[in-house]
């Protein structure tokens, strides 16, 4: 159980008594599900679009402060050991240099609180930062230069000389495995599950597949470089950050510098892509420490190489998937086990077994993630941690089994569709994967597929089709809170410490708030991205929509309660309960008697100030304790494999999703497509290359780490069921991460269908496809 869940549970019983709601059995679903206003699902353009296309959206490195100096970092080149000497004299004497900071002169700082160890902890590791001479990974920053210009800082940092007392290190998964492994713990729970005797069932099954799949390290590679522009005024620290968790970051930085949370102000109105990488790493801490030491505002922008050296990515995995099945395809055994590389001082063993826990019914299960410990940069969350790489292995194996049995891979999946959660036994809140497959298959033309590999060739190109299941859970983390101010002119202003890093948060939430209050969108302002605002709403786990949604429900309820208290006998709303009314046309009405209506102007006319402000917190996320809540998708891919060179081109892709109700058809489609495109990268080209001799990242560059370019990406067709989840706010389950899941397997399966080669090691580069 996660720390957040534990904290949630301590207050749960009381909360449940105090606030019965849609999140418990017997509670009423969100009224927006039944009374669906036109704004819900509307393809509204992004409200911040004009700012972004004009180049007026300000990112973390784009605040110019008086007297600001620029930082550059110097990194270690050994994986483990101690700094024997570090000569900074030439750097200090270099023109424009204000300060050189190392462990010798850095202010005292505590380690960052490690992610998932406390509710607001968001550090990528909990190693000391510039407090001692120890080296923990190859590329660890060990010196920082401040200078009047970036050019001066960069040059001076190149003059630093360091020597090391190197110690033996473990810098490959194979070496780490050889030293022994430990069970993976994710959010405090072991990543281990056994139901029945799966190995025996596998051996007894008439059909079985049993293979090992490998995935390499990955980096998020948001195009915006990580940056922090910081200044101190007295004991208050302000950080212009690129952050997926402003409240978390403020609290965590406060722990490092021994401050109160309120003394740290983290501002991040725009984030140039996150994908799990824009949390707290050493650079924000170093910028703040250097600023403190120099007494000047500091801008620290990591170079692209710096991002690779300082910010962790997804770790490498080695996964065994074994499936045992009857001749009709029914699974007797589902085994998904394997190894991940992880560092000490880290809490994320890539949980690749998550898809296997919820996707298929099976007679027996054996799921296990074992951790092999390496001396490298800490790995971290990257888009759909676990599901992205886990679904590659599982869904490839299902395809292999389908071929062996001689059954259509969609049919095989349908035959193993569970009636309830296969490993927890909980009822599904809403599960429509089969419908997603049917509609996707029809639109894609799956019926045209010839199941025999190499059966379609156009010139040099072998053409094939594949499919796979996408899956990602519904999450709603505790801590959602909002401040909501409604004024007599029918305008509402909402503040939540939430984030916009491309998901369209403010646009979708403005739609939801407008729909809930019965206001036009241009009467709603949604403020976010500052730690001083209420709530701790992580932009992660595809949970912002649900988290903010439930918070708005709570705030709206508080607002309506107050408004109803203001009514007297002459009001058509007098005496009604908050649950009896709903917003429409700039006021409130009784749900089943819409003519009993009063405008917000009239309601607020009864106040002295003409406006009303409420603060409210979301109730604890109990829904996921009662139901199995997962989104699913059916992914379809057509690839062309060049018979001469092995080059792969994706010619068509379709994703058919069951993610509950879609809030904004335009931005949701973009989220799905974006996830799929990252999945194309995962499948075909992405790899953080390490030199296994010393753990050094060898391609810290967008020229050498390939992400998909325009030419790699076909038109991507997106469908969704739009079936609301009765137990989620607005009926919506979140769409940010599911697109990357299933995609790599759909591609690998299509490649097999095209050319008859089964590649189980990502990325599927052309050398793995030529003879």
């Amino acid at each position: 159980m996660s720390i957040v869940q534990k904290i949630g549970q301590t207050v749960m019983k009381k909360a449940a008594e105090l606030a019965p709601d849609a999140w418990l059995p017997g509670g009423k679903p969100d009224p927006l599900i039944e009374h669906r206003p036109a704004l819900i699902g509307a393809p509204e353009s992004r409200l911040d679009g004009p700012q972004k296309v004009r180049g007026e959206a300000r990112f973390a490195a784009e605040y110019a402060l008086d007297g600001m100096v620029y930082a550059a970092l110097f990194y270690s080149n050994v994986p483990k050991g101690r700094i024997a000497s570090i000569d900074t004299s030439a750097a200090e004497a270099s023109p424009g240099v204000v300060l050189v900071m190392t462990h010798r002169n850095a202010p005292p700082m505590k380690p960052m609180p490690l992610f998932m160890t406390q509710p607001k902890a968001t550090g990528g590791n909990d190693l000391p930062i510039f407090q001692d001479d120890e080296i923990h990974w190859n590329g660890q920053p060990i010196a920082l230069v401040l200078a009047q210009t970036q050019e001066q800082a960069d040059y001076a940092s190149s003059l630093i000389l360091a020597t090391y007392l190197a110690e033996p290190s473990v810098t490959s998964l194979s070496a780490a495995k050889a030293k022994g492994t430990t069970p993976g713990l994710f959010q405090g729970e072991p990543l281990k599950l056994e139901i029945g005797d799966a190995e025996a069932a596998l051996l007894a099954a008439p059909h079985r597949v049993d293979s090992v799949y490998r995935t390499p390290r990955h980096n998020h590679n948001a195009i915006e470089l990580h940056a922090a522009t910081v200044f101190w005024s007295d004991d208050e620290l302000t950080v212009h950050d690129a952050s997926q968790g402003v409240a978390h970051t403020a609290w965590s930085i406060a722990q490092v510098f021994d401050l109160k949370e309120e003394q740290v102000h983290v501002k991040s109105p725009f984030v140039g892509g996150g994908f799990g990488g824009k949390t707290l790493w050493a650079h924000q801490i170093l910028a703040a420490a250097a600023s403190k030491l120099a007494g000047l505002p500091v801008r620290l922008v990591l170079s692209r190489e710096g991002v690779y050296r300082v910010v962790g990515g997804r770790t490498t995995t080695e996964q065994r998937v074994a499936l045992g099945a009857q001749s009709d395809g029914t699974f007797d055994a589902l085994i998904h086990t394997g190894f991940v590389a992880m560092t000490a001082h880290n809490a994320l063993p890539e949980p690749f077994i998550l898809p296997a826990r919820c996707t298929y019914a099976a007679g027996s299960f054996k799921l296990d993630v074992e951790v092999a410990t390496v001396d490298m940069l800490a790995n971290t969350f990257m888009r759909a941690p676990g599901e992205s790489v886990g679904s590659f292995a599982l869904e490839s194996a299902v395809d292999e089994l389908a071929e062996q049995i001689g059954i259509d891979p969609i049919e095989l999946r349908i035959r193993n569709e569970p009636e309830k959660d296969p490993t927890t036994g909980r009822p599904h809140s809403s599960r429509n994967l089969v419908e997603a497959y049917r509609s996707g298959a029809e639109k894609f033309g799956w019926g045209e597929r010839n199941s025999a590999p190499r059966s379609r060739q156009e010139g040099e190109w072998l053409v094939g089709m594949g499919c796979a299941t996408a899956t990602y859970p519904y999450h709603r983390m505790p801590g959602g809170a909002a401040r909501m101010t409604l004024s007599k002119d029918g305008r509402v202003h909402v503040e939540i410490a939430a984030h916009e890093m491309g998901m369209g948060t403010s646009t979708a939430q403005t739609q939801v708030i407008a729909a809930r209050l019965g206001l036009p969108m241009d009467h709603v302002t949604f403020a976010y991205g500052e730690s001083s605002m209420p709530g701790m709403v992580l932009a992660g786990g595809s949970q912002q929509t649900a988290s903010i949604g439930s918070t708005i429900i709570a705030a709206n309820r508080a607002l309506v309660t107050e408004l109803l208290k203001l009514t007297s006998h002459d009001s058509p709303l007098h005496g009604l309960d908050p649950d009896d009314v709903i917003g429409r046309d700039g006021g409130l009405c009784k749900i089943d008697e819409p003519e009993r209506f009063e405008s917000y102007a009239t309601l607020l006319g009864r106040t002295e100030t003409g406006e009303l402000t409420v603060e409210a917190s979301a109730p604890p996320p109990l829904e996921a304790q009662h139901w199995s809540m997962h989104s699913f998708g059916a992914m379809f891919c057509e690839v062309r494999v060049n018979s001469v060179t092995g080059e792969v081109r994706i010619s068509r892709f379709l994703g058919s999703f069951d993610c509950g109700r879609i809030i904004n058809a335009k931005t949701a489609a973009s989220q799905f497509q974006g996830g799929i495109i990252m999945g194309i990268g995962l499948a075909l080209m992405e790899e953080t290359q390490f030199d296994e001799r010393n753990g050094r990242i060898m391609n810290p560059s967008l020229a050498e780490y390939h992400v998909p370019v325009h030419m790699d990406v076909p038109e991507i067709d997106i469908l969704w069921t739009d079936i609301p989840d009765p137990h989620a706010p607005m009926g919506a389950r979140g769409v940010g991460e599911i697109g990357i899941t299933g995609t790599a397997a759909a591609i690998a399966n299509a490649i097999y269908n095209a050319c008859g080669k089964r590649v189980r090691d990502l990325p599927i580069t052309l050398d793995k496809l030529i003879d």
Binding site: Y70, I223, E224, R304, A669, S670
Partner: protein, 171 residues
Amino acid sequence: MPQTLSINGTDVPLPDDPRVSLLDLLRDHLQLAGVKKGCNQGACGACTVLLDGKERILSCMALAVQYEGRKVTSIEGLAANGTLHPLQQAFIDHDGFQCGYCTPGQICSSIGMVEELRRGVPSHVTDDLSAETIAFSREEIQERMSGNLCRCGAYNGIIAAISETHAKAVR
């Protein structure tokens, strides 16, 4: 007489330090932060600006001093009198971005690309190199825009925005 270059119609002095890139001149010295730094190594296209209003270049690989006397247009120079350039509007309409960070580079690059197509510059996917005119196809746009990475994956929207703007202009 100070040596200058023109940025969005305004003459600005060249930096004293020849190491200053055109990108850093814009972002750090002139506070024109619409132009973005994504890699500083010529590998992402986020820093794309226009020379003489039509030739797309990477400002990160350009030393500012090299552009003395040249006219540089950044994203800030595209919207005339506050009205969005048609491509800017099309990017909004077709959701040709998510986080918005690569967007200024994508838009400047699109404008340069259309000029190149108009001029008949062939690309890697052009079949007939002897042809005077090049058909405006999806594949041609994809190839020609491949120097602009978008990690959010807004590629479909970008292509749609460019295609629609081009179709309107031709009409």
